[in-house]
Structure formats: C-alpha cells, structure tokens
Subunit: 337 residues, 2 copies
C-alpha cells in the first residue's frame, strides 16, 4: 500500500473561469481510521458543475471550500481498512471523498454499492447524484404528462441527458439544447430525443427553438440559464413547470449578468419556477435509485462517460467540463478497479 496520498487543493479563488493554477497538487501522509471510520481508495472521482460554486467565497447552500482545503467531490472507492462494524476490506462504496486518492471518512457517510449489478462508475452517474437529480427535479417538480413538450438545457450533460430520457419514458416530446454537433447527434441518434439544437452555432436560436416546439413548452428542465432560458420562457404554455437544476452559464462570469425580466410571463401563463437540490430529497433517495436501476436494466437509460486519468488530470478535466468539452459524465480514474 502507498504511504502517500495525492490530493488536489484549492490554491486561489477563481476570477471568472477557473485556471489550473487555481489548484494545487499536494502530497500528504496516508491517514489511519479510528473507531467508526473507514480508509478507502478511490477508483473514480466525479467532476460536477456544482463544484464551481464551492470555489467562490459567496455563501451558498454549502460552506465554500477554504484556500488550501481538498476540493470536495463524490467518488467510488474500495475499503482498504475499516474501523466501522458495517464495512470490511474490499467493499465497494460511494461517498463525498474529495479530490484525492485515499480518504478516511465516517462509515455512516458512505453508501455501499454492489459491483455485480452495474459498473461501479454508475454510482456517480445514472445510479448516483446525477440520476437522482434528474429523477426528482423532473418528476417531483414538473410531473410531465404524456404528449407534453419538455425542453432540457445542458441536455448532453450527466443530469440533462437523464432528465430527457426520463421525460421520453413518460411519453413526452423532448427537445434538447446542447453545445456541439456531436452532442446533438448523440441526443438524436442514441438517446431518442425528438429534436435538439446547438445553441453555439444556431443562427436565430429563438426562432429555431420555436419551430422545434410547435405546441409550446410545458416543462423546462434548466441546467444552463441565461439567454437559453430567456428563449424557452417566451414559449411556455399555460400551467408550465420549470425546474431549475443548474445555471452553468452564470457560474464563471466575472460580473453578474443582467437579463430581461420575465415574472410577468409567469403570471400570464400561471407558471411555476422551482429551484431544487437533490439533498432536499434525502428521504426519498431509495425510491429514486430503485426506479433508475429498473430503467437502466431495461435499457431505457443510456449514458456515456468521459474518463480522465490520474488525480493530476482533475483540474484540467474540471475546467473542460465547465466549457462543455466533455462527452458524457466527466470522471477521473484514480486507481485500477
């Protein structure tokens, strides 16, 4: 066993887009678990847009990461050494293990996973936080009905691609917005979206989106915000439901952006906009995981992964994800499975 833990810490708070120099790679001694704790070795680290918010000083739903602190993040891992009665060496687990190769955490903070039922990386995707986020954010907030038009922004992302597929399972007409032709092709050819639009290259984005939504928009699952959301809001139908999952277009701005005010449209359309965190559904996670696992087994949920290699690759992979360069769920492989 190694005696050194390689970690990525926050070196400085980013101004606008993060740079690799905002991170440090540090070497730490391997910690030992005390009673109730478990030492794990991570296999896959998950990189997610929410992490950008944690790098900023502004108060959010979670404390900001301190300068010099290990970056937070979910990971799947194997237990190396357990001082907790419910875990033993070799168990596969998922938890908030951080951007590091090894971690010592409280046993109660870990979720056991079953490597024989699905690839362990799915615990960070369709059978993990992104899947649950799509499941509750779409179904609980928007209750999509057969035949309704559902628009998803960030549609090729880990969450958006699942939200769109769940809407298809519910019998909706699904329109995805994404940022590359390769992503558009994936949505249409592999995931069965009814229509998809590249916001980076479309001339007259608003007009094109309107053409793709001839019956208006009943449900909008928003990962992006900004001008894409403004365009969708213009098309909403009476009693539309908007689930606000992310606002990635706004996370890296040096100055906050202004935009058209559209609360009047919510009145006219008697429409709802609701923000959510998957942590708000903590008590219902088993329900979500069970249903997602069934759909995955039935072949109704597809996913792909973009896997960077080695902890030292995490900062650049994270920045690439914020720029939309990843093709599928962004992971970093930290050890062999």
């Amino acid at each position: 066993m190694a005696t050194v833990n390689r970690q990525i810490t926050l070196a400085s708070r980013p101004v606008g887009f993060p740079k690799v120099s905002d991170f440090h790679l540090v070497f730490s001694p391997l910690p030992s678990p005390v009673a109730g704790e478990v030492l794990v070795r991570s296999v896959y680290l998950s990189l997610d847009p929410y992490m950008r918010g944690r790098m900023s000083e502004a108060e959010s739903y979670a404390q900001p990461v301190a300068i010099g602190e290990v970056m937070p993040g979910g990971a799947v891992a194997f237990v190396l050494e357990s001082a907790h009665p419910e875990f033993r060496s070799g168990d596969a687990v998922e938890g908030m293990l951080g951007w590091q190769e090894y971690a010592v955490v409280q046993g109660h903070e870990l979720r056991k996973i079953e490597p024989s039922s699905a690839p362990i990386s799915t615990a960070l995707g369709v059978l993990g936080m992104p899947g649950l986020t799509a499941y509750f954010g779409l179904l609980d907030i928007c209750d999509p009905q057969p035949g309704e038009t559902v628009v998803v922004s960030g549609a090729a992302g880990a969450v958006g691609s699942l939200a769109g597929q769940i809407a298809k399972i519910k019998g909706c007409r699904v329109v995805g917005v994404a940022g590359s032709d390769a992503k558009i092709a994936w949505l249409l050819d592999e995931l069965g979206f009814d229509a998809a639009l590249n916001y980076k290259t479309a001339e007259d984005f608003d007009g094109k989106l309107e053409k793709l939504c001839p019956a208006g928009v009943d449900v909008y699952f928003d990962n992006v915000g900004g001008a894409i959301t403004d365009a969708v809001v213009r098309l909403i139908n009476v009693k539309a439901r908007i689930s606000v999952c992310g606002q990635i277009s706004q996370y890296n701005l040096e100055e906050p952006e202004v935009g058209p005010r559209w609360l009047g449209q919510l009145i006219v359309k008697q429409a709802k906009v609701q923000g959510f965190l998957v942590s708000g559904y903590a008590e219902r996670l088993p329900e979500g995981l069970k249903q997602l696992a069934i759909w995955l087994k039935q072949g109704k949920l597809k996913y792909r992964e973009d896997v960077a290699q080695g902890i030292e690759a995490a900062p650049q992979a994270f920045i690439g994800m914020l720029q939309g360069k990843n093709q599928g769920k962004q992971l970093v492989q930290l050890s062999e499975f």
Copy 2:
C-alpha cells in the same frame, strides 16, 4: 330612464404611461336585453392594474381591447330589465360590465350579491376579485405558517393590503412595501403590519428591508416586481415561496427593463416562484368568498376605498392608480345607490 349610455373606449394604445387622450368618452344608444340577457345600471366601476395589460397589443391571457372598444372592467350594478329567469329588476349584481353606465350582458355572466350583508362596493374588493386574488395567491401558492416572515409589495393596494392581513390572520410576521408615508402609516396603524417601508423615499432600500426581516423572508407576495423584488429575493430563506400576482413596475415602461438574473438563488434556497390568475381558481371561488366574508364580519379584514365620481373621471383615476396615487381600492361611482 336615460336613453343614452356613456362609455369609455380605447382611443389609442398607450406608449409608456397611459394618457387621458388614450381614451374616448362616447355616447351610445341604450341597448335592450334579448332572451337570456339582462340590462343593468352600474353603481361602482372597479379600476385595476391588470387593465393596463389589456390596452397593449401584446398577447396576454386575454385578448387585447380593440381600438374603439369599451374598456373592460368589473362593476356592481342593479338590474333594470331582465330577460333571464334568475334575475329581476332591482337585483344587485357584479360582473364584467365595462367602463360604461349601462350594460346588457348574459345573465350567466353575473353574480348576484346581497346588499344587506355588506356594502355593495365590497363585491369589487374584499368580497370580490381583489379579495379572492389575495386569498388564493397567498394561501394556495405560499401556505404561510405561523411565525414565518411574509413580505408584500404593493402592500397598500387593494390586493396587497388583503394579502398582508390574511398573513397576519395566519400568524405571520408581515412586512409591507408601499410608496407613500400615508400608506405606510395605514399599514402600521390600521392594518397591524409588523413593519413597512416606503420604497420611494428609503435611502439604502435593500439594507433597510434586510433590517426589517431579521429572520429572512419565507413568503413573498409580489404585486410590483423590478428592484423591489430583486431586493426581496436576496433575503429569501430555504424553501421560500414567492407568489407573483402583479408586476406594476413593469407595465408602463416604454422599453422592457433588464435586471439581475437570480435563478441561481432559487437553486441555493430550493425556492419556488409561481405566477397565477384568480381565474385559475374558478372552481374554488365559493370557498374563498365564504372565508373572506367570515373574516370581514369578524373585523379581521379592513379596507378603504378611493372613489372618483362619474364615468368621465375614470381615465384620470385609472392613471392615478397606476402611479400609486390612490388611497385604497380605486372605484368610480357611476350612479347613486
């Protein structure tokens, strides 16, 4: 009986704030009711902010008023002549009778009112559309709980003053935002609001509002929009509920306004924003009217009225209301009761 009906029609679509020259006073022959119809003479005409939207060409939840058409509006009236089995001469009624002294309407479009139980003008206020708007917009969308902080914008208006009082009945701490010191005094001294703030004169409005909401904001009932709403949104608590009833700050702008984007705040606070129209509660109106009448009889709901005299005064009174000059529900008296 007069043989001439005086009416106010839309002469031209306003640019920005309406002017009196955007209206015409016209004289028409008195119509006669045919089978199923009723001829009524109006006593009070209600002037409401939503009418500004109907003067614009833009599509909304209702058709725009055509140039030359009588302005729409609710009124209380007495039946002069009935060709409908359920109405007879002398009945007091409420309905969408328009800005005119007489109207012929379908009987099924009228609601009978009981002049002995409350002043007939209340059918345009606490026991009418404004009361029902406050009732459903606050209770159905926001479900305020005892001890929660509720902010109301347009708090001295016909709807806002009732929304705030209903929140008080529910045991909330209520903070009103209004546009004159006389309105602020009324909210504090007569209606029992816990705090109130004059947005037109407050220096550092945001800071003052924050001081008046030391425990943050759980519920926001918005009649105004714009910078007031931006300030409230910065203060919302986790699981806050925002009911969007009106956006009067935006109705008379020549150019649409931009403002800060705050969907990210909805995510962080897992908060909901919902627009509504009272017409969306058509099936539940009896429930609302019953409860409002009980509270009114118990002295728990107070109101005041600002009454202009004569149909010819309606345009100026309407413009004054849009500017916040009215003290209480704006009515126009069209005949003696």
